[in-house]
Every structure is written in structure tokens, then in C-alpha cells.
Assembly symmetry: C2
């Protein structure tokens, strides 16, 4: 049973920028995020609290969270690698915190120098911190299973490893677990299969979102498969920003413009205006002149007679 | 119920080249088609019998059919706009003939100066010609419903018009009707809906194939939707060759490499070697140096541990 309404979670300001060599100015980020919110995006991952030495692109995340909180009807999400990041995120009032756990332990160790056990421990510490807060100040806490559909170092990860990671994240105190196709290895059948398996262990309510990449062009087909399994939150980035660091020339996140077009064409409400996304894309292109932007709908335009502008409908 | 085995019908030498400004030499066509057949493609639309004044790219179609017939295990398909084209196709021994009928009558009249009635009359004449042949010489005869998911001139075409066209093509003597998303207006829901509607009128056995474009990036998602409805024949072109004449910068046919990758990843047999497709892509790139080739898998490469080479399996 697929939903009639979905949430698109824009991850361009985090996952997109993180993979760009150009550093976007704080002012440009604010302008871009504001345009995204204006287009109707109700959740935006605005940055990550990682060491500015490792990712100078993310150095202004605290400022960005603070300014994004001023925007109406916006869930402000951030990525954190550890407890320290979560503390910073909570200090500035992020609405949602995502902690990634790479189900490929080789990748986890090589990428963030932490074993599964260490990441789970971190999840526990973050959950404890969150539950020590007054109810109205508690952010939503998601554990994200990276490389869930395969890893460039390990290949396919056995189901039992993935299911144990999911279970342990929930036991540690996460509100939900997301499935990430970090490498673009997923296909419609594996997407469906893994959603079912993980839900079988942690419950359907604990698996609402997927983070898909378009590395091998299957992004939208995989999103369709996830939709058919009842997934309601889809990560994507405007212009597919960011590319894929492990596969030069290949695109990265699925493209927000195309994803919204697919859903709206199908009669599934996103609450997002495609025309307003095109405006936000212009801002993005101006702010990052050297970066390649992806997407088909921005080039081809909307079909004749295609009318979907929920933002205009609401404000008219 | 989706099939465990599908037929990919390569249309690059026809739909692809038709939309290129460069004219490919006969020798290059032969080399390319031979590489495609070697990769395991079992059906290739090798050209169309139209006036060489209108489409000089197709002037050598008779020669190409004749040389393609020498290739093993290959269904040689051609497009014909009328009886005269069908006569030429039959003379050289094409295995399959496709007659397009644009369900948008405005498009039909503007494009080939024929009303629906006139095209149906042509279908009747072609079917009569075919049935006058000895059984072993009769080509398979498909009527293809172009602009079935919308037209750049008329927008959405009413269902009753599409269903009447399908019914009349079958009554005229076609063996099957195909559904073409000529404009890239289709989405997974409309694809499923129309397949069901048309099958409701002409029967499931008469609707086996779809011709999808990737103009708005939904090509593979739409193919997945069609697969889920039990469609077993999918048109695509190597490198998505041809682009889209009505939308500059937009891609055209779905990309064979990516489509085969999707199906093979899902465990659905195509009989095609992706590595051999990459070889055929090199030949194509050399033969058409100025043309843009599309596709994600050729850039990103295959996933680690991905093993699917049915051609090697067979010949090993």
C-alpha cells in the first residue's frame, strides 16, 4: 500500500555540499535553504556537526541551524557523527538528528574509525542525552543504516549484520532507522526485500525513510519500489548536488526536482511547487558556478497542461 | 505478476539515429548492430522504410536488414509508415514490422499528414499483404500507439480515443499493439493504468511491449511499473541515443545499459552481457563522435561483486 502523501527530505545542504570542493558562503546557504523552504520542503538536512578540519564545508552548521529555525513549517535536520555533534545540535535547537551507522564495518572503521559496537555506544549516549531533556526540547533521533544495499569495500553485507545493526540502534534509543543506499548498489527488488526484512525485526513504524542515490540511474525506480512498500520519507538533493566521490562522473543523491515530479505526476502529494524548485535551482547554480547540477525535468520542462503547484494553491 | 525474463528491443539504429544530425555510414551501422547482437540482444529495430528525402539517416535500411538477417538469434525489426514501407520491409525479409499510429490526431496529421482513419486503412492494407504471404514468410506485425501518455500539441489524450485506436489496429489485423511514451509524459501510475485499460479492450496477449522515453528521468521507474503489470518487451537505445527533438538538452529513449542493469540486478534475465554492451557503446561513440551518449552505469561501473554475463555463461 503506497501513501497518497510523502515527505521529501532535502539533503543538498548537507550531503550535497559535503561532496563539493567549493565552500558555499553562509549567506548563500541561508538564501538557498530559504528558497527550498519557500518551495514547500518541510524537512531539510541543513548541515552536519563534524570537525571543520575534516569538512570545512560544514563549519557554519550552528549558524545555519539557527537561521533555518526562523523559517516556518520547517523541520531542521542535521547529521551528527557522535555525542559531541549531538550536543552541539541540541544546543542550537535542531528538530531532527541523524546518526549514520555503516553496516559495512570495514567502511565504518575506515570512514569514521569506529566499530559497530562503538557507534551503537554513541547512539546510546545520544539517546540518554535526549531523554534527559524536557519533552518539548527533544529532537527526533534517527539511526541511518549506510551502505545497506552494498559497499564498495565489502560488496553485499549479509542480512543478519544489517538486521542486528537495526535492532541495536532501536534498542539504543533511536526513534527510527533509515535505509541508505550510499553506493547506488540497490535495485527495486533489493530495496523492497530489505525494507520488509528490517521492518520484520524493528516494526513497520520504525522504518519510514530511505536515502537513495542515483549513481547507476536507478534512483527513481528504487524510490518507486520503496513507495510501494509504504515508505513515506525520501531523501533527495536539489540538482542531485554532490556527485559521487567514489565514482567520478556519476551522480549522487536522487534529484529533488525529478522525484517531486514523479510523485506529483502520480497524484501523490509532496506539498512542493516544482516551479519554485526551479527558482531554488537558479540560486544554487549561482552560488556554486563550477558544480554540475543533475536532473531531467529542469531541462525538459513540465508536460503540457501539467498543473501542480500546491504552494500557490495554498497561498492563492 | 512480473516476468522472470524479459526481451529488450534495441531501437538505437532506428529511433536513435533518426534523431541524430550526423548520418552513420552503412559499415558503422553493420559493425554496431553486430556488436549489439553479440551482446545478446535478441530483437533490434534496425531502421525504417521512410522516404530518404525526409530521413537520409535511414536511406540504407534495406541493406541493413539484409546484413542483420545474417546474425544469429536475432529478430530483425523495422518501422514502416505505410503500405509501401511494409512492401519494402517484406521484400528484404524483416522479421517484425511496426506501424506507428499517433493517438494524438493533431500530431498524426502534422507529422505524417494522415488522420487516424487513414492510418488504420494503411494497417488493414499491410495486414492483407502479410496474410497473402506463405506462413513462413509472414513478419510479426505490431501497431504502436505513439503519444499514448500525452502529446506536446494536445496534452493528455482521452482514454476513449486511445482505446478505439488500439481496438481498430487489432481489428485491422495487427498481431499486437505497443504503448509508446513518445513525449516522456508518462509516470508509473499512468503507465500501469493505461496498460490495464488497453488490455481490457484488446486482451492481455495483445499488449506485450512498451516504448518508453527518459525525457523527464522517469524512464526506468516507468519500466518497473510496466514490468509489474506483466509487460515483457521493453524498447531502449544504447547510450539513450537520439535525445529528444522536442526538448533540447533532454534525453530520449531509455538507456539500454541502465535498463539491462536494473533487470539483471533484480534477477530478471535479459540474456544480455553488460560488459559486451559497454563494448558496443565504444563502437557507437567512435561512429558518432559529436553525439552525446547518456547512461549512468557506463560512468559508475558495475557494483563490486556484480556478476551477470549470460553470454559468457552460455559460450563458456
Amino acid at each position: 500500500m503506497s501513501a497518497n502523501e510523502v515527505c521529501i527530505s532535502e539533503v543538498g545542504p548537507r550531503d550535497g555540499l559535503q561532496n563539493c570542493t567549493t565552500i558555499m558562503s553562509t549567506a548563500d546557504k541561508v538564501r538557498w535553504i530559504s528558497a527550498l523552504a519557500k518551495a514547500g520542503l518541510s524537512e531539510i538536512e541543513v548541515g552536519s556537526f563534524v570537525s571543520p578540519k575534516l569538512l570545512p564545508q560544514m563549519a557554519d552548521t550552528a549558524e545555519i541551524v539557527a537561521s533555518s529555525r526562523e523559517l516556518e513549517n520547517l523541520e531542521v535536520a542535521v547529521l551528527v557523527p557522535n555525542l559531541k555533534g549531538a550536543q552541539l545540535a541540541i544546543e542550537v535547537g535542531a528538530d531532527k538528528i541523524t546518526l549514520p551507522l555503516s553496516v559495512s564495518e570495514t567502511h565504518s572503521v575506515r570512514n569514521i574509525r569506529r566499530t559497530h559496537e562503538q557507534v551503537i555506544e554513541e547512539a546510546r549516549n545520544i539517546a540518554d542525552l535526549i531523554s534527559s531533556l524536557p519533552a518539548e526540547k527533544r529532537p527526533h533521533f534517527e539511526g541511518s543504516l549506510s551502505t545497506a544495499f552494498g559497499c564498495t569495500l565489502e560488496g553485499m553485507i549479509p542480512d543478519r549484520v544489517i538486521l542486528r545493526c537495526a535492532e541495536q540502534l532501536m534498542e539504543a534509543g533511536c526513534d527510527e532507522v533509515g535505509l541508505s543506499d550510499t553506493t547506488g548498489y540497490g535495485d527495486p527488488r533489493s530495496i523492497k526485500r530489505l525494507i520488509r526484512s528490517v521492518r520484520g525485526v524493528v516494526g513497520a513504524d520504525a522504518v519510514k525513510g530511505v536515502h537513495l542515490h542515483n549513481t547507476r540511474g536507478l534512483g527513481l525506480a528504487n524510490a518507486l519500489a520503496a513507495l510501494e512498500e509504504g515508505i513515506t520519507t525520501f531523501d533527495s538533493s536539489l540538482g542531485g548536488l554532490g556527485g559521487c566521490p567514489t565514482a567520478p562522473g556519476a551522480s549522487g543523491n536522487i534529484v529533488t526536482e525529478d522525484l517531486v515530479f514523479m510523485f506529483e505526476s502520480m497524484g501523490i502529494k509532496t506539498g512542493i511547487s516544482i516551479d519554485a524548485l526551479f527558482e531554488a535551482r537558479k540560486i544554487l547554480a549561482e552560488a556554486l558556478p563550477g558544480e554540475e547540477l543533475y536532473g531531467f525535468v529542469p531541462n525538459a520542462g513540465l508536460p503540457l497542461g501539467f498543473a501542480s503547484d500546491p504552494v500557490a494553491e495554498v497561498t492563492a
